[in-house]
Symmetry: C2
Subunit: 685 residues, 2 copies
C-alpha cells in the first residue's frame, strides 16, 4: 500500500534531535516533550493511545474511534477492499460507499486489523539460540527460535505473534496482537476527493484530500465491543499546537553503513525506479483498453505511481552530496572512535568490511532472486507458487520451514491465498507478459533458466497459456489443493498449466534463495547487529530504534515550512479545494462536493502539515492532541519527508493529515453520514 | 537514431593506449598501427577511405560502395525512411524492399548524405573573435563568428559547412561537406532479420543480424557518378585480421570534470532513464491499440529502447566504483601537476571550480529548459514551434540568430520542416498528452507556466484540441507560412490552435534559454576550453580529440573477449541464426530466410566483433581491411562498449558488425538482389 515500503535492513539511529523520532511506547521521551512543549505525557495517556491504535496487516495504520469497533484509516489503505467489492456495474471507487446501517456494512475480502495487546522481552532466548554460530547455522538457529517463540505464543487463530528486533538486535521483543479478520466497509468517499490532485499532488503540500475510509471490526458477526478508543476533538488542532502521531512506520534505514547506502543509491533504487517507470507507462496506456480495464488496473497504477514518487524522494536524498557526505563522515568518525579502544576495534570494526562484502555478493545475486524466487505477478501466479511451496513446506517441522510458511505466519498467508477478491484474466496476462519479458531482458535470452521458462514461446504466449489454462481463479479449487497437501497438488498439476509451471521453477527459486540465506543474509544480520550493538553500547535506549512496522509514537506540532524561499502555511481550507478544482481529473471535484458547496463552511480546516516524524506505513495513523483526542488523520508526507528513510530534517520534513474538522463537516454535510458522525461525537447530535 | 547520442560537452582525452581512439584523418597514428599490426597506412589509402565514407545528417555513418552512388548503411539508420515510405497496405518495414531497377528506387523524405570534401583551419579567426570576452559577450561573439565563417563557406545549397571544435577549442576546423538530398531506397531486408533478437539482443554478442540498407545518391535525377568508393573484399575478414572503422562517432565525454561526471551519474542519466522507461512502457502498450498503431509507433519504440539500453550502459560505467575513482584520481593528479607551476595554477586551476559552479546552475535550470524550451513531441508541435520562431529569427542578421536558424543551418532545418513524411494524429495526441502530463508532474500543478499552458484543461484535452485543430500536417501549408514570414504567421495563427499555442509559449522558452546561454553555456565553454588547453599544451595532438560527429578512423582487429569467465568467439555464422530462432518475435526469422535455408552456405560468417573504438553515430560505418576493402558493416557495440563514452577498455570493448560475406550471401541467395551484388562485386558475375 501507499508509502509502505518495508525496508529489508534495519539498524539503530544516532541520538535524536528536535521533534525527531518514531519512539516505542515503552520508551517514549516524556522529558523531551515536556521540555519542548510543556506537556507531561502520563503512562495512562500512553496506554490508551497505544491500545486505541491499530495496524492493518496489509501495510497501514489505523485507529479505533468508537466503542462499537469503528476504525478510521485512509481511503488508500482500504482502496483494494473498495475495488474488490466493486463490479462493472457498481464502482465504489468512483462513487464512494456508505452503509446506512450495520446490515449494509460489507466484509472486505483481505483486510485484517491488528491490535497490539502484549509485549514480552525475548532478548535472552534469541541471543542464546545463536550463540557462537555463524553462516547458515546462525540463520537456521535464529529462524528456528523465532518460529518456536511465535508458535508458543500463538495459542489461537485470533492471535498474531511476532518477534521484533529493535535496535537491530539490541532488543528482541515478542509482540502479541489481537487479529480482527472480519472487517467491514462502513464509509468511503469518492476516489476523486480521496486523492484529489492525483499523482501530481501526491507528496505535495498545500493539499486538499479527503483520504479517509471507515471500516468496522466484527466479532462473532457483531460489531466488536472495545475497551479502548480515541475520542474526537471538538475543535481540532490549530497552528503551533502539540500533536502526536501513533502508528506503524514500516521501516527506516537511518543507520545503514556507507556501503549499504551506496548500494541503495547506485544500484537498488535506480533499478527499481526504472522498472517502476516502465510499469507506470504500461499501466497508464493499459487503461486505454477500456473502462473496465481502467477500473481493474487503477489500484495497481496508484501503487506504482506512489512508489515511484516515494523512491525518487529517497534516491534524491542519497544523491544530495552534503547529505551523503555527512553519512560518510559520521561512519568514519564512529569507526575512529571505536579504533581508540583495542577491544572495541577488534570486536566491532571488522563488521563494516563484512557488511560491504555481503553487499557486493547481494548485488551479484540481485537479479537471480528477482527473476527466479520472485517470478510472480498479478494474483494467480502467486497463488500457484504458494500452493506448490506450501505443500512441501508444511511437511517440515515448524522451525525448519521458510519463514512465510511457519505456523505463526500461516493465518495471514492463507487469508491472501483464499481471498475471494476477483481476478481479471486480461490483467493477469498483461502482468505476466511483462514479467517474462523483463526476465528475458535482465537474465538474457541465452540464460538456461530463461530457456527453460520460455522454451520457444514468446512471453505473451506463455502468459496467455498459463492464465487461460488455470483453474486457480476459483477459491474453492485453491482450498481443495491446499487442504489436500502434496497428493492433491500432484493431481491438480497434471491438468493445470499454472501449477505445473510453478512446480517446474520451484527448485530454481529455492536454490537462489538458499545462497542468499546461507551466505549473505546471516553475514548482514550478524554484522549489522555488531555495528548496532556498538551504537547501542554507547547510546542505549536514549534514542529510538529504526522503524519496524510496529507501534510507534512521534511528537511534533502543526507547523508550516519554507519552500523555494516562500513560507508554506500549515493549514488549508475546504474552500481551497473549490478554488483549485479544474473540473478535469485529477483536479475534478466529485458531484457530491459540487452539489453541497452552498451548505459547507468553506473556512473549515481541510488538510494540515505537522512536524511529526513519520514514514511509509504511517498512512492511516491518527493525529492526537494533548488530551489524546483525534485532531487529524495522517495520509501523506511532503516531498521533503521522503528522505526520512535515511534521516530527519526538522526544518522541512512534514506529516500531511486530514484535519478532524473537515472529516466531520464532509461526513455530515456532503455525505449524509450523520450515523458515522454520531458515533465519532456521541454527545453532539 | 540508434546510438547517436550526441553529447553536449566535449573535452580532450588523455594519452591513448592499445587500439583506443577515434582519430581524425589528418592526424592518424600511422606509427602505432605499424607497430601493433605491421601495416603501413599511406596518405593515398587514408584519402580514399575518407572520401568514400559519408555521414547521414540525421545521425549515422555510411559509405559509398559503387561508382553509381550506391551507399551502404544500417537498416536502423534508414528505418524512418522505410517507415515513411510504408503505408497501411504496404509495410516495407515488415516485408523489406528491393528496387529491381533504378526506376523503382524511391526517394527518402528526410535522408541526407554528407561527404566531407574540405577541411580548413579557422582556429586563429575563432580565437580572435572571443579574445578578452566573457559571459554573454563571449557567447554572442563566438556564435556570430561561427555563423559568419559558415555562411562565407556555404556558397551553394548543395554544400554544408560546419565549424568544428576539436580538442575542445584546441583546434577549430571548418568542415565543408557535399550534401546529397536526393537519396533513394534501393534495398532493405525485413525488420525481423535486420533486428533479429530485438531489444533483448541489442548491444549483445554473439549476434545474428542483417542490419543493412542500401540507398543511392542522385544528382540531377540520375545516380551520382562518384570518384571515390570502397571496393568489396572477396573473402571478408578473419579472426585476428587488422580492421579499420571509418565513420562519424557522435560524441564522447572522456575528459569531463568530476563535477560533470557526477552530474551525469547522479542527475542527468538517472532522470533520463526513468523518463525513457516510462515512455517505453507506454509505447509497448500503445502498440496494443491496433496493428496500424503498432506500425506507426514502431520506430519510436525502437529509438527509445535503444537509448534506454545505451544510457543504462553509460550509467553503469559511471556507477562502477573503481572506474569512477580512477576519474577522480586522474583529475586530482592533473590538478596537482598544474599546481606545481604557479603560472599554470593561476591560469588553469580556477577553471575546475567554474565548471562545477556552472554545473550546479545547469542542474537547477534543467527542468525549465526541458519543459519550456523543449516543449514539443511528435511532429506537429515541432513544426509549429519552428514556424513561430523562424518568423522572428529570420528577420535578424545572421550572426545574431539562434544557432539553428543561422543561414548555414537553414537547409537542414527546412528539410525537416517540409518533410512529406506522414503524420499520425492519434500518435501525435498520445505523445503530446504524455509531454503535458510530464510537464505538470515535473514543474508542479501550481507552476505559473503550467497553469498558462493547461488552464483548466487536462493534458489529453489540450493535446487533442491542438492536434485536431491544426492544419500543419499539410506540407504546403507549412511552406506557405514559412515563406510568408511574420505576416503569414500572424494570419495563420488566428485559425490554427497549434500555431497559436506555439506562439504563446515562445517567449517562455526563449527566456530560459537566454539564462542558459548568458550565464551557463559560456562559463562551461570557456572553462572547458581552458582545461582542455591545459591538456593540449601537454599532450598536443599525440592523442585524439573527443568525438564530434565528424569523420574519424579507428583501428583494431577481429577479436573475441572474455565474459563471465567464458571466451566469446568473434565470428558467428548464418547457420547460427537458424539454431537460435524460436519462430516468435523477436527471434522469428522471416519467411524469406526459412525458404532459402537449403540454398545457403550455413557456415558463411554472419556477424563479427572487432576491437575498434567506436561510439553512437558510428552505426553504418564500413569496416575495411588493410587493402581498404569492405569487410563488414558496423551496426552495434557490445554491452561493454557502452562505457566508451567515458573511457575505452581494450579487453572487452567491442564493435559489432555484419560480415561482408553474409551481406553478399543474403543479397544473392535470399533476396534475389543480384543487381546489388553485381554492383558491389563488379567482376564477379
Amino acid at each position: 500500500m501507499k508509502r509502505l515500503l518495508l525496508a529489508a535492513l534495519l539498524v539503530a539511529p544516532a541520538l535524536a534531535s528536535a521533534d525527531e523520532g518514531m519512539w516505542t511506547f515503552n520508551n517514549f521521551p516524556k522529558d523531551r516533550v515536556e521540555k519542548a512543549y510543556g506537556f507531561k505525557v502520563t503512562d495512562a495517556w500512553l496506554d490508551n493511545v497505544q491500545r486505541s491504535s491499530v495496524r492493518l496487516a496489509q501495510g497501514c495504520s489505523a485507529s479505533f474511534v468508537s466503542e462499537r469497533g469503528l476504525v478510521m484509516t485512509n481511503h488508500h489503505c482500504a482502496h483494494s477492499c473498495i475495488e474488490q467489492l466493486s463490479t462493472k456495474e457498481k464502482d465504489f471507487v468512483k462513487a464512494g460507499f456508505l452503509a446506512k446501517a450495520d446490515a449494509d456494512e460489507v466484509k472486505c475480502p483481505e483486510l485484517e486489523v491488528n491490535q497490539l495487546i502484549e509485549i514480552t522481552s525475548v532478548t535472552a532466548r534469541m541471543k542464546k539460540a545463536t550463540e557462537g554460530k555463524s553462516g547458515r547455522d546462525f540463520f537456521v538457529a535464529q529462524r528456528g527460535e523465532q518460529a518456536a517463540i511465535e508458535k508458543e505464543c500463538q495459542t489461537a487463530e485470533t492471535l498474531r505473534c511476532e518477534v521484533v528486533s529493535l535496535y537491530r538486535g539490541g532488543i528482541y521483543d515478542l509482540y502479541k496482537y489481537q487479529r480482527y479478520q472480519d472487517v467491514r466497509l462502513v464509509f468511503a468517499p469518492e476516489f476523486a476527493i480521496a486523492f484529489f490532485g492525483g499523482d501530481p499532488d501526491n507528496f505535495m503540500f498545500p493539499r486538499y484530500d479527503l483520504d479517509v475510509a471507515f471500516v468496522r471490526v466484527y466479532e462473532g458477526a457483531k460489531p466488536a465491543k472495545l475497551k479502548n478508543w480515541l475520542r474526537w476533538s471538538a475543535a481540532g488542532a490549530k497552528e503551533g499546537e502539540l500533536t502526536f502521531v501513533s502508528g506503524n512506520p514500516g521501516g527506516t534505514n537511518r543507520k545503514l553503513t556507507v556501503a549499504q547506502l551506496e548500494y541503495q543509491r547506485d544500484t537498488a533504487l535506480p533499478e527499481r525506479l526504472v522498472a517502476m517507470a516502465e510499469m507506470r507507462g504500461k499501466l497508464t496506456e493499459y487503461a486505454h483498453r477500456g473502462e473496465e480495464q481502467a477500473r481493474h488496473s487503477n489500484a495497481t497504477l496508484f501503487y506504482v505511481e506512489n512508489g515511484l514518487k516515494a523512491l525518487t524522494g529517497r534516491l534524491e536524498a542519497l544523491q544530495d552530496k552534503p547529505f551523503f557526505e555527512s553519512k560518510v563522515k559520521a561512519e568514519a568518525d564512529f569507526k575512529a572512535a571505536l579504533a581508540r579502544d583495542p577491544a572495541n576495534a577488534a570486536r566491532y570494526l571488522p563488521a563494516f568490511d563484512e557488511v560491504a562484502k555481503a553487499v557486493t555478493a547481494q548485488k551479484k545475486l540481485r537479479r537471480q532472486i528477482e527473476f527466479k524466487e520472485r517470478l510472480y505477478a498479478g494474483e494467480l501466479m502467486g497463488v500457484a507458487r504458494t500452493l506448490v511451496r506450501g505443500a512441501t513446506e508444511r511437511q517440515k517441522p515448524n522451525p525448519e520451514r521458510l519463514r512465510e510458511y511457519s505456523d505463526a505466519a500461516l493465518p495471514q498467508l492463507t487469508q491472501g491465498l483464499f481471498s475471494p477478491a476477483p481476478v481479471y484474466p486480461e490483467f493477469e496476462i498483461f502482468q505476466l507478459t511483462h514479467l517474462f519479458t523483463k526476465m528475458r531482458e535482465k537474465l538474457g535470452a541465452d540464460d538456461p533458466f530463461v530457456k527453460k521458462v520460455l522454451g520457444k514461446k514468446s512471453p505473451a504466449e506463455l502468459a496467455e497459456e498459463l492464465v487461460k489454462g488455470t483453474k486457480l481463479a476459483d477459491v474453492a479449487t485453491r482450498k481443495k489443493i491446499w487442504d489436500g497437501g502434496a497428493a492433491a497438488l500432484d493431481e491438480a498439476a497434471k491438468a493445470d498449466p499454472m501449477l505445473a509451471f510453478a512446480r517446474s521453477i520451484d527448485e530454481d527459486g529455492r536454490a537462489v534463495r538458499k545462497v542468499y540465506e546461507d551466505s549473505i543474509q546471516p553475514v548482514l544480520v550478524k554484522n549489522q547487529e555488531l555495528i548496532a550493538q556498538a551504537h547501542f553500547a554507547v547510546e542505549g535506549t536514549s534514542t529510538y530504534p529504526d522503524a519496524t512496522f510496529t507501534p510507534r509514537l512521534s511528537y511534533g506540532s502543526v507547523q508550516g515550512y519554507e519552500e523555494n524561499g516562500k513560507q508554506v502555511a500549515p493549514i488549508t481550507t475546504m474552500g481551497g479545494a473549490y478554488e483549485r478544482a479544474t473540473g478535469r481529473e485529477p483536479f475534478a471535484l466529485p458531484k457530491s462536493w459540487l452539489d453541497a458547496k452552498g451548505k459547507l463552511d468553506l473556512k473549515t480546516p481541510f488538510n494540515m502539515a505537522t512536524s511529526n516524524d513519520i514514514i511509509g506505513g504511517n498512512s492511516g495513523s491518527p493525529v492526537v492532541n494533548a488530551k489524546g483526542e483525534v485532531v487529524g488523520l495522517v495520509f501523506d508526507g511532503n516531498i521533503q519527508s521522503l528522505g526520512g528513510d535515511y534521516g530527519f530534517d526538522p526544518a522541512v520534513n512534514r506529516t500531511v493529515a486530514v484535519h478532524s474538522s473537515a472529516l466531520v463537516e464532509a461526513l455530515a454535510k456532503i455525505y449524509g453520514a450523520q450515523r458515522v458522525v454520531d458515533e465519532l461525537k456521541p454527545g453532539k447530535k
